[in-house]
């Protein structure tokens, strides 16, 4: 419900206040927000810290871009294929990675991220190699203006977030949190931890792929640095800064990240320093993501509500 309201208000806003710059900025924020939220299904909800999430962003970006550019199919078909390919990639990568404990899991996701990057660089015929898939991506008329694409992005991102939210609030989502907190215990309750980890890994891969597809269509091209391993740090930044224990924390983090970059690059090319500085400040001063901070503040003020069975901080 809140999803629809949120989406509608963004769309209305783009008419009331039609600024190319802002529409573009918000498109980027929403895309990265979905990307970060998909990573947070792993990091925040299940306790699986993946350093290779950009791999799926890349798979999605290239799948949609190649399909549309070379086979000129419909956008719907391109997204369908993106979902299938991201899911297959996540299924394969996930079934290797989840065999291992946390630090090895992280390293292995990073390694697979690198493999995807190398495939993209080497498979020049398909991907354009080093210089990326250039030459533009044909979009149907109804998506050709920047505002139209923005509205499309709002709808796709809102629908994706609603699905993610439903899942984290489901019994399955409840078990993910149990696994995050104590996987050892979960086994004794008859829970096959690896199945849950694999399913959520595939889910995160699919939504990571969708965000990649949205990105390549929005800038009409796909580039290898979409899936360069360092790119995986961006959603981690967003998750940490925005807050991994609140559903909308990563989206907030994406907004902070993109706004910081957009405005700091106007004045300086030391934007990396600014991003790093913000991260250090938040980690040292607040010690939790901003959304978490706010949620806990609110929860602390309403503890004597009628029935508060759920943990105040780990919401969502």
């Amino acid at each position: 419900m809140w999803g629809i309201i949120f989406a509608a208000s963004l769309i209305i806003l783009s008419f009331v206040y039609p600024s190319e710059f802002l529409i573009n900025l918000f498109t980027q924020i929403l895309i990265m927000g979905l990307f970060a939220t998909s990573l947070n299904l792993l990091v925040g909800y299940t306790g699986m810290v993946s350093f290779g999430h950009a791999g799926f962003f890349g798979v999605g970006a290239y799948t949609a871009a190649v399909i549309l550019q070379k086979y000129s199919t419909s956008v719907g078909f391109a997204f369908g294929t993106t979902i299938v390919f991201s899911a297959i990639a996540a299924l394969i990568i996930g079934s290797f990675c989840i065999r291992l404990g946390s630090i090895y899991f992280a390293m292995l996701t990073l390694a697979f991220n690198q493999i995807i990057y190398i495939i993209v660089i080497r498979w020049t015929d398909m991907t354009g190699g080093d210089q990326g898939l250039i030459g533009g991506i044909p979009l149907p008329g109804f998506l050709s203006t920047q505002r139209a694409y923005f509205i499309f992005t709002v709808i796709v991102v809102a629908a994706s977030l609603v699905i993610c939210k439903l899942v984290v609030d489901s019994p399955f989502g409840a078990i993910l949190k149990v696994i995050r907190e104590n996987a050892d215990r979960a086994y004794s309750l008859g829970i096959r931890v690896k199945s849950y980890q694999l399913i959520v890994f595939v889910m995160a891969g699919i939504f990571g792929g969708i965000s990649g597809a949205l990105m390549s269509l929005s800038i009409s091209g796909a580039y290898p640095d979409f899936c360069y391993w360092a790119k995986s740090a961006e959603p981690i930044f967003m998750v940490v800064v925005g807050g991994m224990n609140s559903f909308l924390g990563p989206l907030l983090g994406a907004a902070i990240f993109k706004i910081l970059i957009a405005y700091s690059t106007m004045y300086t090319n030391l934007w990396g320093l600014i991003i790093g500085g913000v991260l250090v400040l938040i980690i040292l001063l607040v010690r939790k993501g901003l959304a978490d901070y706010v949620m806990e503040f609110v929860a602390a003020r309403s503890v004597d509500g009628p029935k508060n069975l759920l943990s105040p901080k780990k919401t969502g």
Partner: protein, 249 residues
């Protein structure tokens, strides 16, 4: 009938024989205990029974079926549920959320992806009634990290018992508690044992507790069974007195 039985069980860690040719069985419906000095192999025995460790040789029969090669989650599903010597709960989840994990799993509702778990009234009722069983209803909304030690122990035990186990293996249910609390928590376990007709095996160091709450006592030493019998039989067994009761207190 023996609900759970082991035959010639062996487990070693490097050169250390933690379980040594152990054979014994548990009667259905019994409440019994396992005692033995520190390092006797009691926790290792539970880890073998629940699939948390692989045995070197021997057999584990649950209702005459060999379960020694099954993974731990399958054993958990079959109705062999355990609690842990060092509490294993989900620290930042509330008491309610912790217990809900047991109920969701028992009711096979964990693969529902789009139902709001907060709206599942039947699950909530069952969680609340299980919390009532272990006297934690009033603390339902408290995160597990904020629980006093006794309540934490109760929660750990409650998570196992809420599974409606065919046999519950409780590893030191009263560890680290003052003696008044020990009796209280054992009374509670005993009440549930009677009320639900459970089979319970518990590991315990406090001899007052052991003798008050066991129909049978098994004594382990260096991974071997040195005595097996009623409290009277065991308390008069000279080997036990020498190996265990003598130097413990």
């Amino acid at each position: 009938m023996k609900i759970l039985e082991v035959q010639h069980l062996n487990k070693s860690f490097g050169g250390l024989q933690a379980i040594n040719d152990l054979s014994l069985g548990f009667e259905e419906g019994e409440m019994s205990s396992i005692i033995g000095p520190n390092g006797a192999g009691k926790t290792t025995f539970f880890n073998l029974l629940t699939g948390y460790l692989r045995l070197d040789s021997g057999k584990i029969l649950f209702k005459n079926q060999d379960i020694s090669k099954l993974p731990n989650y399958k054993i958990g599903r079959m109705g062999i549920n355990r609690s842990f010597q060092i509490s294993h709960v989900c620290p930042s989840l509330t008491v309610f959320e912790n217990l809900r994990a047991s109920i969701l799993s028992k009711r096979k509702k964990t693969f529902k992806f789009f139902t709001n778990v907060g709206g599942m009234k039947d699950i909530e009722d069952e969680v609340m009634s299980s919390l009532d069983d272990i006297n934690l209803k009033d603390l339902a909304g408290t995160p597990a990290t904020q629980l006093p030690h006794g309540a934490l122990k109760s929660l750990d035990i409650g998570m196992a018992l809420a599974m409606d186990p065919q046999i519950a293996l409780l590893d030191e249910p009263t560890a680290g508690m003052p003696s008044g609390d020990r009796m209280r928590i054992m009374d509670l376990i005993q009440r549930l044992w009677k009320q639900k007709g459970l089979t319970i095996v518990f590991v315990e160091h406090d001899m007052d507790v052991v003798f008050a709450f066991s129909q049978k006592i098994r004594v382990l030493n260096y991974g071997s069974l040195i005595a097996d019998g009623t409290p009277e039989e065991v308390s008069q067994n000279p080997v036990v007195i020498e190996a265990y009761l003598g130097d413990e207190d």
